[in-house]
Symmetry: D2
Subunit: 366 residues, 4 copies
């Protein structure tokens, strides 16, 4: 069975590569920015996106005040590589979120990647032009708009995911279960090599993370390699239907829910759909009571990313009384909205819901 | 085991509902629009999107002329409900595409849905405002921007997917295998109740369709219900890693590839990634040689939907010699680009690649 | 009085410049594309932008059928350099438009510029990156995204406008009057050095062209130079208030109006405002009866470019019964909408309104 | 001479109108938000718009540190009605800006309007849909997306501009001269009926304000009415060429310039063009040394609003060393960028340039 044993090596000049990967992306720390509250409050009676953002921040605060409300955070777009990791970790640490539904890239390629000790780097302005992408390819540097990643590091991340899959009992797993194993791997290997890790923090706090397109990320390479190496023998499989089933169980167990959506895509749609799924399973689940979305998407093309929250209400998924879209790129709006929620402090009266333990108990008794 | 046996019923006025669902969406038939070629040719030496579109159409024609090139079509956004179904079916019928990678919504909620005899409807302009979404909810009418769907029909579609899952041998399946079973179900039930069906056409022609976020659609409800009804017994599972493995096998078997991307999201990213996956499995796979993308997404936010094709080249996924982004809403640009390819006729010299049979043979011998 | 007498000279390599300016932009000829009608008709029962575009085309056709309706075309964005010149000239030639309100750039820097014998050029894809703008500066090549202009040619255009101003009787002129003089200049100098010229065609047909920000273009340089050279003596002045007065007189003389807006900005806003201006002058002018707009602008930021036509109705400017926005880049949508109107042929029953002669007569008797 | 003497009256229910116009837009006060500095500093090493915004804020601070640099602020889009008035007034009060180039709407319809004692109002979320625009029309309420204006107030503003024109000596004026007369009118009538007025603050501080499309605003109605009432007699005229001439004189007198652009359109283009105009008049003017732009516009359609600052450098207008685009809606980004500049305090060492007095002296000696 032919398998790729030689590590990826950049072909270009090492010194040049080192020079390009010199300045690290730094994650914003909203806990040190109390001034955000007054700034957002000052936007309440303006117009356009400022007013929308202030209202979204207020709805987020209401979600946190409503103690029975389970908060589901959905993530799409390159958020972790863009410096929003600590914002999300601070939400986990302070009981501001009870479940995450994300693209695989944010969770595996970016958060797990940093937990393995790797970093994202600031690309010089000239690289945005795309004119140097050929050289970057030679140097094995991947580019996300204005950010660099060392592809050699990323291949090590791919391999780490395979190691984890190889170590598990063959069988079918939800992405939540597999991602929890990523957290356990970090725990058993001396903890994350970074101050803040979403996967690790969620693991320690029994907060479930779902990636409904889990093979579309670094873990996908691990899955493919694992599957290939087993050559027909029993193996570890990601069972995507189980993801949907588990997330629906949470809606059934905790009917009052709010969703905080960063970007759209599969995470957004998947999370909205659990209202209908609960109904399909015979439960009279209410629509999501609170819903905010921060997105650059456009409302005019019917893409999943861009259906408005009002539109979602026609599908019976989102209540319209407490919903707000904010049309802004995430790096600008997310620190303001989450920073507002953090410094208002309504989360202090909230308890951890530890939803992963509910799901694990259900599975243990099943 | 409590399960939802009572069919969904709209609460509102039946006459009003009938009135709202009176005008069907009609799918554009590019085979009857030979004038597209001259129109697109006239755009070649203009500027901006016209020039980009003409170049994309030319690259599509080159893909079709390059007989060894396998063409992979990726679909995101609500395309089928928007009237693009026949465009895609005509691509399948005329050997213009060898594999489809799509959101589940396009394939199941919209194409399979129409194959079951249901239709999409034109919403009046006033409904775009969102002001009537409460009434629509009462009437069980779902809205996609300017298009209506009868939620009662959609629930029947959900149930049909469960019936299919219930009828299969327990075990792990790729979305490709499950979607092929949807085609077989149509075949065995008198064929599709519509002139044109993507699932059915692909089934008859051994063209694989992958949905890398398969539980994020009508089939997801079927999967959840099936899983629930089995109550721990062996059941049918969608194995998402298998999807990635199979698509990668196609890249290995047919290294020369071109991708035609409508929208971005998971289908785009997943398909680009098979170049790296093939490499991970020890094969020296070339980058995608041709790549065109039609999208409304923006390049500035690092979302997966919006990474440019140039950016993808830094990742070693897409060659830059023959790539073109077209920034346009799909309903305008897709008929022009595909219509151009159709009436230029380069597909006439192409043979069907029947990639599903390759995969099925591999599985049979495995 | 210090004045710039030496012509601008590029500093860089002449051969390189020649090579960069080798491929001319070619203007699309919709009169040779009868297939557009069937294509647009096929989009009527689709969704999203296709349906919007088909409806806009239909409204344009209705404007032309309604013989008393005066059609005002507004232009913003680089349309002429992008290859849309002949589309507009064909509208003028075939009584499809009765007045133009435009940015100065389209009319002077681009149309008059081509009438002087100069051309726009196709920039290679790599120039879009902006990485070569320093070299272009050295070569005196101006770039509009993917299009090149020879700055040396443009300076000659600037000077030609000054020559015209120098030749006129001192006094206050509307931009319409000045632009008519540009047409006369072409007439007296052997006609335009190009097959199609908006300024010249409008001049011959007594169709008024207004540029409500007339000093914001090549003519602005001519005005400044003219003013400077007169050193306090009586001179030719562009009287911007006169523009508004004249356009309002047309609304009063011909109350039934339709507007065809390409882009937004000052031309759009200025034209919508004449309804209110007519009212201010004591006339009970109806709102614009028909209104279509083709724009890439976004509705969410309150910019003038992006106020929707519905929003304009709250201002009493645009009737909502026959209005349609098309969210598309102009080079794609304009040929389809105008081509539809052209080949439907409703303009054949329309008479030339010769609005400039109305204004000139009014001025003569004033 | 028929003229409109009867004031506009809303036809609808007065109580309903009062209810709709109950909540005033409040202008953000960045002087009270020192927390902005730490927030923006925390965005420096992130990616995407956060990094861009932090760099723009830094460039703004550098403009202010560079004492010889003249700062020109350009305004497009509905900024004053959106709550950004005080931000701009604070820039004027603290020597952070030396000239303004704006759409007429911001300066006359919105700032002068508020100085006359009128206000902008918050529209309820449901009005964004456009479904109530017919009712608004009846009530004489104008809507800008999510903001209301009382059209009866606006007509009084129109008339006030006419009164000012009627009171001046006949002759040709630049928009700068006319707007200064608006400031004098406020001064002579008891000062502005609002705490903060851009026109008044600029008047008192000899800061020039230009509106290069001056007839495209409330003042245009005043100009038209004035012209009409003079019936051929000598009258006050807005001489648009003079605007360009005056702004160019400032570039010649103070060659080191930086531009802070909010939105694009005519103000942006006009201001960039003075570099070339100075050259045309025989002066070797350097490009604008600093340039930042906050815009939602898109780079792909060649509209004036969207040409990037890099593109402007090919035209010899903007230096690329110190330029930064921020793709964000203005209400979010402007408070952060200006607040950063304000609290960094580099303006404290700057002197007022009093550019209007330079121009007035030049005119007096001419």
């Amino acid at each position: 069975m032919a398998m790729n044993k030689k590590p990826l090596k950049a072909k270009g000049n090492k010194a040049r590569k080192k020079q390009l990967l010199a300045k690290e992306i730094k994650h914003i720390d909203i806990t040190k920015l109390p001034g955000i509250v007054a700034t957002v409050d000052s936007m309440k009676s303006m117009a356009f996106s400022a007013r929308d953002l202030a209202r979204a921040a207020d709805i987020f605060d209401r979600m946190l005040k409503d103690k029975s409300c389970g908060v589901i955070l959905t993530l799409a777009g390159s958020l972790i590589s863009a410096g929003l990791k600590k914002v999300i970790v601070d939400m986990l640490r302070n009981n501001m979120v009870d479940a995450i539904v994300s693209t695989g890239a944010n969770i595996v390629d970016q958060d797990f990647f940093e937990a393995l000790g790797f970093r994202h780097y600031i690309a010089g302005d000239e690289f945005k032009s795309g004119m140097y992408d050929g050289e970057l390819r030679e140097l094995a540097i991947d580019r996300i708009y204005d950010t660099f990643i060392d592809e050699e590091d990323l291949r090590i991340c791919d391999e780490a995911t395979q190691k984890i899959f190889d170590s598990l009992e063959p069988g079918n797993y939800s992405s939540r279960q597999l991602i929890a194993e990523f957290g356990r791997y970090l725990e058993e290997n001396g903890g994350p090599k970074t101050d803040d890790s979403i996967i690790y923090e969620a693991f320690k706090r029994d907060i479930p993370i779902f990636c409904p397109a889990f093979s579309d990320c670094s873990a996908g390479f691990g899955l493919v390699h694992h599957l290939h190496s087993k050559d027909g023998d029993p193996h570890v499989a990601w069972d995507g239907g189980k993801d949907f089933y588990e997330l629906t169980q949470l809606k059934i167990a905790n009917p009052n829910t709010g969703i905080f959506m960063i970007g759209g895509g599969v995470p957004k749609n998947f999370t909205q759909d659990i209202v209908v799924a609960a109904e399909v399973l015979g439960h009279d689940a209410p629509m999501h009571k609170y819903a905010i979305q921060i997105t650059v998407a456009d409302v005019r093309d019917g893409a999943l990313s861009s259906s408005t929250l009002k539109e979602a209400s026609s599908w019976g998924k989102v209540d319209t009384a407490m919903e707000q879209m904010v049309f802004s790129e995430a790096t600008l709006a997310v620190p303001l909205v989450v920073g507002y929620g953090y410094h208002k402090g309504s989360w202090k009266a909230r308890k951890a819901k530890k939803w992963s333990s509910i799901l694990d108990r259900a599975l243990a008794t099943a």
